[in-house]
């Protein structure tokens, strides 16, 4: 005989303001199978939970219904309390009379009637609940880090130093990401490569890190603790282990194309390393730039290679790995500057983006660190920096602030003044947002020590006149229109989401926001996790970030993964499909509809080993409890634990008008539809 306890929560005025909790309790107390009913101001509070625990013990309850808020809010709380009272946690259920009742209704009488209905159907469900045991699954203690920029490097190193195996996947031939392209970093003016390359080398040498460059994630399956990942290794036509990085192949290569790493400002061969400190230090043959591989045309590199490292028959390779957790660190792209048409990027060679200016400043860049105009190589004497190109511009660009542009523009202006002391730097800004340790002081230093002229206002147009660039703007503090003859114009373009975000997000089952940045689980309290268990974010994939924040988040993600790996087994919800082997006919319709590949055929044999029947078998590790197989099953041989047909029909029947006397128990067999008469 069921002995169910019903607990109605006031939630202060949230529920009690619209629902007559007293009436709900009185009706609940008379429901069949209910042995105890009471209401309390805050059931989730400590005294509220104590009420529940005491009632379970004193009245020997066999099930609990808490009529309160959404289960996503407090189901865990009350299941925990039920366990403390000595019940199986899956004998505790919640009736949502706040989000689905009091918050959305004004009429008190109607809301009370609805709350009573919600409690009634939950009581009927709990009467049919079975105690369930959580499923334990083993954890693969190996992590996958997607993206080899500073975020991915940091996360991989932290995890590897913690003693875990890490697979680092990078799409480009070398790790390093955008940070490797930078000249110096704010606010300390450290040389970016000098602080990054030791980390890159550490990654390549670390025994716990498997580095897969020139590779992309193709497919992700599985769940937290047990992801199956397919990684596509693009053919680089150079055997990494054999290449000595001597460069003989590049010398003889006849194909010369613009170097993407230098922002297209210098050249590279078809067989190349993107930059001298590339990790892994091996050459890569760019299939598109090559004279031709199919059919093979030139093979000069092959003949020049003394180490016999070039394999022109290399094919794409799929590597399958099993990992327990995934860190996404795929970074950002730059706002396409040609979209801001009035600023002339793409039309005038002396209008450059911030990243191109970094390469012009860099000692390893196309000009070897000398400040030169891209058009004719003269030293620029008047340089105009324009901030917020694309950022904070809902019409042409993106509505958000890209966060790093104020700082890197100050850095650019400062470095320019260090290289050309007699030159003049102008900065057009909307606001200077220099929130960060030492950031405000850095901007002030640019203004005061290096005499960078900050002009508050927008630039309306950049155009060419008599062979010089003219910048039209306005100083909104004085109201003066300005016209500056510039040698060089630098655009601080916005950070936008990585172009491949949506294809990867689908694979990862992660949610991207309207701008393509990945959504964290909670903006304040869970900024590193995603709503997909076992999937963590690091760096600019989540939102625009500077290097210190990126590194901090990468370490945080690594910490989360280490916490996950500290256990040998993970507990999963036992809400999974269960097959009745006696009635299963072996049609395998369920297998066709299962989106998780959790259903496989199983053979039933007698003692002599003769095949009797083939039936479906559910892998509880893979099953996510979606219920698609339950719907597909033609003779009701599959049920979802915790949501069995009996429970669901019980809920539906409970919604029929209340009888005068307690109804006889509706008996429903799993294989048959109920007779409702």
């Amino acid at each position: 005989m069921a002995r169910i306890g019903v607990f109605v929560c006031h939630c202060g005025e949230n529920i009690a303001g619209t629902v007559d909790v007293e009436a709900v309790t009185q009706v609940a107390a008379r429901l069949p199978g209910v042995a105890h009913a009471e209401h309390y101001r805050y059931m989730c509070s400590d005294p509220g939970q104590k009420l529940l625990i005491e009632a379970i013990k004193e009245k020997h309850l066999t099930g609990v219904v808490v009529a309160a808020c959404s289960p996503s809010m407090h189901e865990m709380t009350f299941r925990g309390a039920a366990v403390e009272g000595g019940l199986n946690p899956y004998l505790s259920e919640m009736a949502n009379i706040r989000e689905q009742c009091s918050w959305v209704h004004d009429d008190k009488a109607a809301a009370t009637a609805k709350a009573i209905d919600l409690v009634r159907l939950m009581v009927e469900k709990v009467r049919r609940n079975r105690p369930l045991q959580p499923i334990t699954v083993p954890v693969t203690k190996r992590a996958l880090v997607i993206g080899g920029g500073i975020a991915g490097i940091q996360a991989a190193l932290d995890l590897a130093n913690g003693g875990h195996q890490v697979i680092l996947v990078e799409r480009e031939p070398s790790i390093g990401g955008h940070m490797a392209q930078l000249s110096e970093t704010f606010p300390t003016l450290d040389c970016s490569q000098c602080i990054l390359t030791p980390r890159m080398v550490e990654v390549s040498r670390h025994p716990n890190i498997t580095l897969l460059t020139y590779s992309e994630v193709e497919e992700i399956g599985g769940y937290v603790g047990n992801f199956q990942v397919k990684i596509r290794r693009k053919p680089r036509y150079v055997i990494e282990e054999k290449c000595t990085n001597c460069g003989d192949c590049a010398v003889v290569c006849p194909q010369v194309v613009p170097n993407e790493f230098e922002g297209g400002l210098s050249w590279r061969r078809a067989i190349y390393t993107p930059f001298p400190q590339a990790v892994p230090a091996v050459y890569t043959l760019d299939e598109e730039a090559c004279l031709g591989l199919h059919p093979l045309v030139c093979e000069k590199c092959f003949q020049a290679c003394e180490a016999k490292a070039i394999d022109l028959n290399m094919k794409p390779e799929i590597v399958e790995v099993e990992v327990g957790a995934i860190i996404v660190a795929t970074g950002y792209d730059l706002f396409a500057a040609e979209q801001a048409r009035e600023l002339g990027w793409g039309r005038f060679p002396d209008v450059v983006t911030g990243l191109e200016f970094e390469r012009l400043l860099s000692a390893s860049g196309p000009t070897s660190g000398q400040m030169r105009c891209p058009s004719d190589g003269r030293v620029p004497k008047e340089v105009v920096f324009i901030q917020c190109v694309g950022s904070r511009d809902p019409e042409q660009g993106v509505p958000y602030c890209s966060k790093i542009c104020c700082m890197y523009t100050a850095k650019h202006a400062m470095l320019y003044k260090h290289k050309v002391p007699d030159g003049q730097a102008y900065v057009f800004y909307m606001d200077v947002r220099a929130g960060g340790k030492g950031y405000e002081e850095f901007v002030n230093r640019a203004m005061q020590e290096d005499r960078v002229l900050y002009v508050r206002g927008r630039v309306s147009k950049v155009f060419e006149e008599d062979g010089r660039l003219k910048v039209w703007g306005v100083d909104t503090l004085t109201g003066q229109p300005l016209e500056i003859a510039a040698d060089l114009v630098v655009l601080a373009t916005a950070m936008v989401a990585n172009t491949e975000h949506d294809t990867l997000a689908k694979q990862l089952r992660a949610i991207a926001d309207e701008h393509g940045f990945y959504q964290e689980a909670h903006p304040k309290l869970r900024p590193v996790e995603t709503l997909t268990a076992g999937l963590y974010l690091a760096g600019a994939v989540q939102a625009p970030k500077d290097i210190p924040e990126t590194v901090a988040q990468a370490s945080a993600a690594a910490g989360k993964v280490q916490a996950l790996f500290s256990r040998d087994e993970l507990q999963r919800e036992p809400v999974v499909a269960r097959v009745n082997e006696l009635s299963c006919e072996g049609c395998f319709d369920c297998q066709k509809v299962c989106p998780y590949g959790a259903i496989t055929p199983e053979e039933i044999r007698d003692r002599e080993g003769n095949l009797l029947r083939r039936v479906s078998n559910v892998n509880v590790g893979l099953c996510e409890g979606c219920g698609a197989c339950v719907v597909a099953c033609r003779n009701h041989s599959i049920e979802l634990e915790g949501f069995t047909d009996e429970q669901i029909y019980g809920e539906i029947v409970a919604l029929w008008p209340m009888p005068e006397r307690a109804p006889e128990r509706v008996t429903v067999k799993a294989q048959r539809r109920p007779r409702i008469s």
């Binding site: 003989d248 003889v252 922002g263 297209g264 004279l291 030139c298 983006t353 196309p366 030169r372 058009s375």
Partner: protein, 97 residues
Amino acid sequence: MPTQALRRQPIIPKPADVPKGTVYVIVEECKGCELCIDFCPRRVLARSPQTNSKGYHYPVVLKEGECANCQMCYLICSEFAIFSTLALEALPTAETG
């Protein structure tokens, strides 16, 4: 990498030590199959309006200096009527690589 990088012209001159070739056509051997024209990866060759004494339109070099000396034409020609050699003034050296 974003496509925008490729819209920009490199600001330093193209490396000078790129291997270059000189194409030689043995006009009288040609049978006008035009395989060399089709297979040239840089489209250096074109069909000549003139014919040789057998009446075939032999190939001519259209873009002098574009040849990469890949030898594809030499490999593909069934009559051994075309070949290329490395242009001597542009021999690559280890220092300029």
